[in-house]
Symmetry: C4
Subunit: 322 residues, 4 copies
């Protein structure tokens, strides 16, 4: 495994990591979850991502149980949670958002579910227009000082909101955000590559990116239509279908053009797409989700593709789907 610092912060994360989103507590039960974390850890993965809202808390409880069961030394891995959407289907007004109350209560609840004394990473899952950023930054600082959070960050915040959080932190001697968790893949590049560019330079911001396969599209598994057992075919994710495949399937067409390049590099399009993300030096870690063990194993294989992705090849890959 390769390890990278979380931006300018001192924390080394495995360049490929594991996310519980959309799988834990859904298609992935306890036994499979255990096998997945064991496999990932065995391959050097040291970051397990989660959020209060994944399965309304079930994904965190499941991960907490499995981590307790596996007994990896606590100082050898990192776990995250995210606060914003709440951990209930119909959250009460105080059970969501980034008020001091919810940021603190959600942290305590995540610590309980994950069965840890502190979160290594804690994210504001979305910006909250109804809470002043001063209040949220102060709440995060409080958790850091109490030893309940090591690094805090944002997820899918527009660049100006992150800049504002840094200004508030600096002005009040509070802990500043260390990382962002944005979507990033061959078909969704703007934010990570352009919008956030000044933030890497000015604040040393790290990124823990999600959806490297664009909800599976870049694995090529929709090249010949949506398989019945895939996530997109599940009623819960119907809303994703258009977004993933593109109107008229023009996104699918792009993906088909990745095949020859993948063949040339001796890997699958999924591995190529993942390695392509990891080859961006501003990406601290690429989070992999999986609903089957072989899928996780396969995607971890992207690590071997990474050394082959020199700048020129990386450009050719991007042009193929442009």
């Amino acid at each position: 495994m390769q390890y990278r610092r979380l931006g300018r912060a001192g924390l080394p994360l495995s360049v490929l990591s594991f996310g519980a989103w959309a799988t834990f507590g859904k298609s992935v039960g306890r036994s499979l979850a255990r096998d997945m974390l064991a496999l990932a850890w065995d391959r050097g993965v040291n970051f397990f991502d989660n959020a209060e809202t994944y399965g309304n808390g079930v994904a965190e409880s499941l991960m907490g149980d499995v981590l307790a069961d596996l007994r990896f030394p606590r100082d050898s891995w990192c776990v995250s949670s995210k606060v914003f959407f709440g951990a209930r289907e119909h959250p009460k007004p105080t059970q969501r958002g980034l008020s001091r109350k919810h940021v603190i209560e959600a942290c305590h609840q995540a610590l309980q579910r994950l069965r840890v004394d502190y979160l290594d990473l804690y994210f504001c899952h979305r910006p909250d227009p109804d809470t002043p950023v001063e209040e949220t930054v102060a709440a995060m600082d409080l958790l850091v000082r109490q030893g309940k959070v090591l690094y805090w960050g944002t997820s899918e915040w527009p660049a100006p909101a992150i800049v504002e959080a840094h200004r508030v932190a600096k002005e009040n001697h509070l802990a500043a955000p260390s990382m962002e968790q944005p979507e990033y893949n061959l078909l969704h590049r703007e934010r990570v590559e352009v919008e956030y560019a000044p933030l890497y330079r000015d604040y040393g911001m790290g990124t823990t990116i999600w959806s490297p396969l664009a909800s599976g599209l870049l694995s090529g598994k929709y090249d010949d239509g949506v398989p019945a057992d895939s996530r997109l075919a599940q009623p819960d994710y119907a809303w994703l279908q258009d977004r993933v495949l593109g109107d008229g399937g023009e996104r699918v067409a792009k993906v088909r053009r990745l095949r020859p390049l993948a063949d040339e590099l001796g890997c699958s399009t999924a591995q190529l797409a993942i390695a392509w993300c990891a080859a961006n030096p501003h990406v601290s870690t690429v989070m992999l989700g999986a609903s089957r063990l072989e899928q996780l194993e396969h995607n971890l294989g992207a690590l071997e593709v990474l050394p082959k992705l020199d700048e020129a090849t990386r450009r050719r890959v991007a042009q193929a789907v442009a």
Copy 2:
């Protein structure tokens, strides 16, 4: 229920809330208290107000017992306490005021009585001329950092004292006050509408207002004299009678002029008076006290009047009692 942020702070409070003042531990015992909190919560009320001095601690103990009993999720409601008057009939000198000692000890005692780990809101019940505001602000900041208080504020402080508290907080990087708890109703408007006006703009101050019915006067229940079973008829509250009814009953006369407007809107004068308060956007929440369950239910009905109170109607109501 409608929810509003506590001024510029991120905390959403129900626009109608519940206060224990003058009832809990007096006319309201455990069984009725339980029914009232259950009813309020069922209607969406998420803020329960209290103070060390209400029934000398009995109101808090009662509320704590009932909340523990009802088992609403802790993150779905807010509870407050207030410090200043002490929780004893004859407090010793150190058992009252806003010294660091009393602010901290009163907080610990309220946490025990209310059976919670932290107060969502903690008020300085009055200004303390014998304690420098620096000392009180620092004590509140300490409680916030220790996780024992989420938001702190003032109650019935003159505007300049609140401005001073903000200055001290800003200068020393301490937690600033978020809210005020003033009296506000159709017959008592000056402080909330004029004196505090710059504070909403400059500090985003929220308000949790008390006495929307002017001690019951605006419900019209004294229109035909003081009923024997009303609070004003109780010996403990004799001192209130003149203040409430006005010398020569001129305040009662004003209230009688509300009836036609209430009839027009299809509600009681009580509901009209409550809704009128809630229609002020600088009011975060209107606290309702009640000594009978039906009274609480009736007053919560003000919520349906609220949408009918456009600016013009609100002005007509105010003019009726001017």
Copy 3:
């Protein structure tokens, strides 16, 4: 009892208070200690003074046992400790002074001996030339933030050292000292009246003064020589004799001149001398020590003399011993 704020701080202390120095764990055992604290509290005394070095910790253990036994409500009284000399006859180098290590360890030990969760007042018993004042102020601030100390101060520090502590505190946003514990009596006035004068004005410094009777001299009990059962006759306090009585007894001669004034006011010279200290508005509290219960009771009688001490009378008293 009369109560005064501790300088500009919000803490109200009884103008007469109780000190354990030189008696607790020496001539005063558990039963008498209990009677003394009970009497004092009964008369409205709310401050009990102590130090790690009094009886090498025994005075604190004794007071802690008695306070636990008497069960006065914790919020109705204040207790102090002082750090510097250590709590052993031959302290190791790290067991004394004002290093961060000793300030923190001595606090923890005092909390255990006194059986409380926090000290209301914590004094630096002397300045420590070998420790930067920055280190001591930061250690005190840390204890305040951890909730283990409410107010910290100094004892017998020269004015410039106190000024320096305030400068350090202000510059680093740390808790500043609130009070001094100096010797003060009719024969020892310079420091409190002249040297500290700017500190009352600039920092609102309070004072908890000791030795109002100049080690008993002002009670007149040495007017006819040193009685065999008095403290000065004990071998442990032989070193005090010259200092107390004056070379050639000239201090005794001065004291004899107080008698006529005391007679005029209908009190003892002890009561007059105590009341004279308390009449200084910069004195927050006059600490009384006693080895017999009647002595304590008698000295508390100074309270009745206090109202008779107008400015003119106070000046006449001072001139008598000048």
Copy 4:
């Protein structure tokens, strides 16, 4: 024993102290460790040095067991740990370095192994180029505020990195480093005497120096070749041999020139070399390691040589090995 403040800090350390490096958990087992600490403490040593990496945690566990066993009062001695290299042969990426995660986790682990509630001294064992100094300073400050560390410092940091740590601390009102732990002996003088010179003046930096005998070389024990039972003869320390003896043994030759001076002062070359280090006023304490009890006893004898080392003699000693 002589005691010196830790630079400008208020902590008094014995001028000779005890280090566990390279012995505890290796040649020194529990029984000998107990005898050594007992002897050292008996002679007035009050500082016991350790690190997470010494014997991969075994040295700390051993010292913790022995200290618990010996029951010296906790406030009479100081213990240290150091963070950087990890406590495992093959540390995972997050198990070493100066990230906030490792600094905090290593502290918690050292507290457990050493069986104490706080470390008196906590060192950054080396600079970490992959972690911003801001992050490390903030993590140390957090541990100080939580009461888990009293004084923090560095070990073998270049002067500019220490200056930078002070700048960060001052700018953010964080606890600044108090001490350095550098190598220092007659053959390794540059860093302590020249490079660090401005740091004593500007920051009052203290030093806890290691290797006063240059890995035993200055004891003269290699004057006639490497004895079979010495550390340098052990396979684990083969890498040290050239560094210690010098290419072609020219360092051994220098050491032989110390003999006449030692004879003159009536001591061994080891005692002379140790006393020479201690005579430097910028050295707070000279740490002695030992694998045999007699060796420790012998080296503690350096204390008697110290008063004989006036400036002129100290210069002659240095010239002998120049």
